[in-house]
């Protein structure tokens, strides 16, 4: 089999992993070497599904001894198999990198023979890149659960970021769909990586040139919509992962049916893209806006509102905190206004030092007044000619698509129907699960 076919098979097998950022670390090539990484990350292209391509995302091999039901590479699936040699992979990476196609490598793998062997193959590919090519570009490596900690440690010294996928948001789902994995087998390497990163930080304080272990930190991904966990449960888990394991990112992947298993949603299920989108919006609120999971959803509200985003939803339920005076409100409070983002809030804080801001000025700073005007005052006044009614506020908070849905009532188009029915579908799943139907 030639490399062209291998690339096709091993790209196809890796594409369901959603992590693709190259951010989190800033470094330059050493003399005689090649490659740099920028803290903000660089997207090199966008695929026709609208997702960013920044890394050569492939598997070392898609041959796997595991049989996880949701996975396209499971042992029982009849699919062509291939494996890169470490050198083929390293040369492909360098040649793509030189042409500025990519920012680096995202390397994952099926479990070939055993976890240790698989991990050794990945280490060898990374060693060729780092030592022979003196490559300083970005490398994201998937930690192989079950591999010896010495190997994980070596992998982490060669990579910029490591990740272990949670895969499914609860232990019972794992047991059902990924019988070869357990909560322990996932959390153990995650904890180990977290400890190594922490130890390494101490080393770096003591010895400035100590080699760095996964300097861009650790991330994870979980599949949404294959199993009955609610948005609230997923968001709480996410918050826990940020707090307990100091993860840099948690990625969500709308379940894409890849197998006809009785345990999974049927193969004609549309992926719950809206739900995934809402989770990312909420994730942003956790990481950059100072929200806690309990503020966004709670036991009584387990699912996201399909019509409006989590921040608007929160604001509508906390009208007692508004309107907010734009010339006085502290930064953290400004962040809670719909229509004001991190950039907008920073600009407001900077600009109001030079003089009072009015609505016209806010518009120039990039504040989305259409949404913000219902929640703010400028110099004690609300926007000219604005009548605050619940209906008007609600409409202006919805996206155009959502407003369309809302106005058309039940007459959704079929494609959109599946998106917006999703939260209800999931609750049905919960019920089924509780009554033992799943």
């Amino acid at each position: 089999m030639d490399v062209f076919d291998k690339l096709k098979i091993l790209t196809d097998a890796a594409k369901y992993d959603v992590a693709c950022t190259s951010s989190g670390v800033d470094k330059k090539a050493s003399r005689g070497g090649i490659g740099n990484a920028t803290a903000c990350g660089i997207c090199h292209s966008f695929a026709a599904d609208g997702r960013c391509i920044s890394l050569l995302k492939v598997l070392m091999t898609n041959a796997c001894t595991y049989d996880c039901q949701y996975c396209v590479n499971r042992r029982s699936n009849d699919t062509p198999r291939a494996a890169f040699t470490p050198r083929e992979l390293a040369e492909l990476t360098i040649n793509f990198y030189r042409r500025n196609y990519i920012e680096g490598l995202f390397l994952s793998s099926g479990i070939q023979r055993n976890p240790d062997y698989t991990c050794e193959q990945m280490i060898e590919a990374l060693r060729i890149l780092r030592e022979e090519y003196r490559f300083s570009g970005y490398i994201h490596a998937k930690a192989i659960p079950g591999a010896d900690s010495v190997l994980i440690s070596r992998l982490g010294m060669l990579a910029d970021r490591m990740s272990v996928n949670i895969e499914l948001p609860s232990q019972s789902s794992l047991k059902l769909l990924a019988p070869d994995k357990s909560k322990h087998s996932i959390l153990a390497p995650m904890g180990y990586i977290q400890n190594r990163i922490q130890e390494n930080t101490t080393d770096l304080v003591r010895y400035r040139h100590a080699p760095r272990f996964a300097p861009a930190g650790q991330s994870t991904q979980m599949i949404v919509g294959a199993t009955p966990e609610t948005d609230f449960q997923i968001l709480n888990l996410t918050e826990g992962l940020y707090k307990k394991y100091k993860l840099k990112r948690v990625f969500f992947s709308a379940y894409m049916p890849v197998s006809d298993s009785a345990l999974l949603p049927s193969t004609d299920t549309k992926p719950p893209l809206l739900r995934e989108h809402r989770l990312y919006q909420a994730d942003w609120l956790l990481r950059f806006y100072g929200f806690s999971a309990n503020e966004i959803l709670d036991a009584g509200h387990q699912s996201f509102n399909p019509y409006i985003d989590p921040k608007c939803n929160w604001a509508l339920n906390h009208m007692e905190r508004f309107p907010m005076e734009i010339n006085r409100a502290p930064y953290a409070e400004l962040l809670r206004v719909p229509g004001i983002g991190v950039t907008g809030a920073k600009r407001i804080v900077a600009a109001r030092r030079t003089g009072p801001l009015n609505f016209d000025g806010l518009k120039k700073l990039g504040v989305v007044l259409k949404r913000a005007q219902y929640f703010i005052t400028c110099g004690g006044k609300i926007a000219d000619g604005l009548k605050i009614t619940q209906d008007a506020a609600l409409r202006s908070l919805m996206s155009d698509t959502a407003l369309g849905m809302y106005q058309r009532g039940a007459g959704f188009e079929p494609e959109q129907l599946s998106l917006f029915e999703q939260p209800r579908l999931t609750q049905e799943d919960v019920r089924k699960c509780l009554t033992g139907q799943i």
């Binding site: 090649i34 695929a47 997702r51 083929e88």
Partner: protein, 271 residues
Amino acid sequence: MPDRSNLIYCYDGSFDGLLCCVFESYEKREIPADIFSPDTEQTVLLPQREIVTDPKKSARVLASIPGKMGNDALDFVRHAYLTCLPRKELFILLFLRMGFSCGPRVMNMLADDVVNTLFKAVKHLTNEAHLLKGFLRFSVFDGALAAEIEPKNLVLPLLAPHFRERYPEERFLIYDRTHSMALIYQPYRSKIISADDFRMPEPDEEERSFREFWRLFYSTIEVQGRHNPKCRMSHMPKRYWSCMTEFGAERSTGKKQELPGGPKLLNGSGL
């Protein structure tokens, strides 16, 4: 102060020349209606005054900017000069006049029309440069790298440090079709020159096969169940596509490509 709204300054198009316009404006206590560079299409019949570039005058203005309004403001003005904003010269002059009178806080006066217009233009420039750090595609010819771009703003000075750091040991060239300029680099030295009529050489076998590999990767990585061309377009506007390998069709053979480098690569453990 007399606002000479019927007078036009003409300068040589250089940054130094623009600073001399600022000098002139202070010396004569006047604000011109507009400032023309040699590239400006002149459709007005207002009286024009030639501003001669004098290194002494420009040096005085240049030295006073960081002192009066901070280094950030100087960087900002240098960036503003690279933008494709219509009448950018006049906006820069007005900005500097504000900065000289009110100091470093000019950088925070984001609700002011002049400051805001320039901020947006600079944002457009830095945004375009950031996108091109990713969207630019090199081809390898005789071991050297060459790329073409069609930016709206003058992004080469912003791209230079990034690619110098990325490929310190390579020789490369980036050609800006819009402005007929090229950034050339060989280890540890780079410069920007004006260059008309640059043509990319014909790709060799190896170059063609890597383009093919990349197109294969690009088309395979899409998850069909999430097909969303509108989303792609908003992240990667179509005007960039013409210079990108993944959207180019190769005139060549059409036969399946081997990974160049020969059989040594292919003796691996294919399953």
